[in-house]
């Protein structure tokens, strides 16, 4: 079950959504099998970094502009922003330990 701490971002509000703090965005689609594998890890990260990290998802079918703007051409892709700047790009599957290390660097 998806964590309630995971937000949903859209094309319309994306710039504002990542403007402050450390934000992890998971680009996904309903038809993407590997995305379903990383989803529970993203949920766990949202729970564990509760408050220190904003975690959000972008459905690329409904929001084509944002993936195109950040040149996302494969999913799952995770982007990490700090105060609006793109800091990290993680393409494909990654373990929770590795993602935790990447996030912690920017907190």
């Amino acid at each position: 079950m998806a964590s309630e701490k995971v937000k949903t971002f859209t094309d319309a509000t994306f710039t504002d959504d990542v403007k402050s703090g450390v934000v992890l965005v998971d680009f996904w689609a309903t038809w993407c099998a590997p995305c379903r594998r990383i989803a529970p890890i993203v949920d766990q990260l949202a729970e564990e970094f509760n408050g220190r990290l904003t975690v959000a998802k972008v459905d690329i079918d409904e929001n084509p502009m944002t993936p195109s703007r950040f040149m996302v051409r494969g999913i799952p892709t995770l982007l990490l922003f700090k105060d609006g700047d793109l800091k990290e790009t993680v393409v494909g599957l990654e373990t929770k330990d590795r993602l935790t290390q990447i996030i912690t660097k920017h907190l």
Binding site: A33, P34, R37, P67, M71, R73, G74, G92, T95, D97
Partner: protein, 322 residues
């Protein structure tokens, strides 16, 4: 110390889940550690037309879902997580998943194989920027654009056929002058109007790292050495797989190509450790052969645990390769 499980299965493709089904039905209460690529390679395919029992074909992810539910129905425990290290030099065997350690009296390795990259360096750097090993995942981004597929086997043909419905033009690049794909797949590919073939060519570079996206491939003619460029927005790599055996280096005997060595069914070089599926099979690599070998591994593990698995007459005798 008490052992957590009689049998732990690493991997959740057809081999791992069939082993889980048989072990569960033998009342061994198996634990399956599914791994980051849960469900295995079939999760990335579309229609599977050669798995017996499904006359009209079945979608790869649906087949895996059925196998999973069937194993769980008989009592297999399946947990998320990726094994970080394994120690088979002690008994019970130790299996570490992040910070949690599990112990097991027997172990079934079904970690499978993962897609191979081109080994150019640049291909991994442009992964998710136009280079992909999964057409069904990333084809979406290339609607109305030209793409290339590298390889001449079934995987490459399946990718090309899938992409032909999205991309304007699919160019298959193969280093030989004939395909090694099955006849059915070859015919499908040859009969698709927007799939074309460039024979005897290999990819030597992918442009353009500076722009952070794929703009063109640099190709070399394998006969003349002549170089050429092909403008594409995406390139899909279907050149085969490498076995996921890094966890077992120095612990279990492997072939030169990294696949686990098995003998007398599913036995590895360590007693009580069994292997099934693509991790030990570089020849057949089919869903049905993986499932079959998963069944063998579960039966072997059951016999090992009950003390009725007899010592084989030829335990890996060659010291130079073992």
């Amino acid at each position: 110390m008490s052992t957590d499980r009689q049998v732990i299965i690493i991997g959740s493709g057809p081999a791992g889940l069939t082993a889980a089904l048989y072990a569960a039905r033998a009342n061994l209460k198996p634990l399956v550690i599914e791994g980051i690529e849960a469900g295995g390679q079939l999760m990335l395919t579309t229609m599977v037309e050669n798995y017996p029992g499904f006359r009209g074909g079945i979608m790869g992810p649906d087949l895996m879902q059925e196998m999973r539910l069937q194993a769980e129905h008989f009592g297999a425990d399946i947990i998320q997580g990726d094994v970080s290290s394994v120690d088979v030099s002690v008994r019970p065997f130790r299996i570490n998943v992040d910070k949690t350690q599990y112990t097991a009296d027997s172990l079934i390795i079904a970690t499978g194989a993962s897609a191979k990259w081109l080994d150019l360096g640049v291909d991994k750097k442009l992964s998710g920027r136009g280079v992909s090993t999964c057409a069904t995942c990333d084809g979406f981004f290339f609607k109305g654009l030209p793409v290339a597929v590298v390889g001449g086997g079934d995987t490459a043909m399946e990718e090309a056929i899938y992409l032909s419905k999205l991309a304007t033009q699919v160019t298959v690049i193969h280093r030989r002058d004939s395909l090694r794909a099955s006849k059915v797949m070859q015919d499908k590919a040859f009969n698709t109007p927007n799939i074309t073939f460039l024979w005897n060519r290999e990819v030597v570079d992918i442009k353009d790292l500076d722009q952070g996206k794929v703009t063109a491939l640099v190709l070399r003619d394998t006969k003349t050495g002549e170089k050429s460029e092909l403008a594409v927005d995406g390139v899909f790599i279907g050149i085969g797989h490498t076995p996921n055996t890094a966890l077992f280096k120095g612990q279990l005997a492997m072939h030169d190509n990294g696949y686990l060595k098995t003998h007398d069914g599913s036995r590895t070089s360590v007693r009580g450790v069994f292997a099934a599926g693509d991790v030990q099979d570089h020849i057949y690599r089919q869903a049905v052969t993986a499932a079959g070998s998963g069944c063998m591994a579960a039966i072997d593990a059951e016999r090992f645990l009950s003390g009725t698995l007899h010592e084989s007459s030829h335990e890996l005798v060659n010291p130079t390769t073992a």
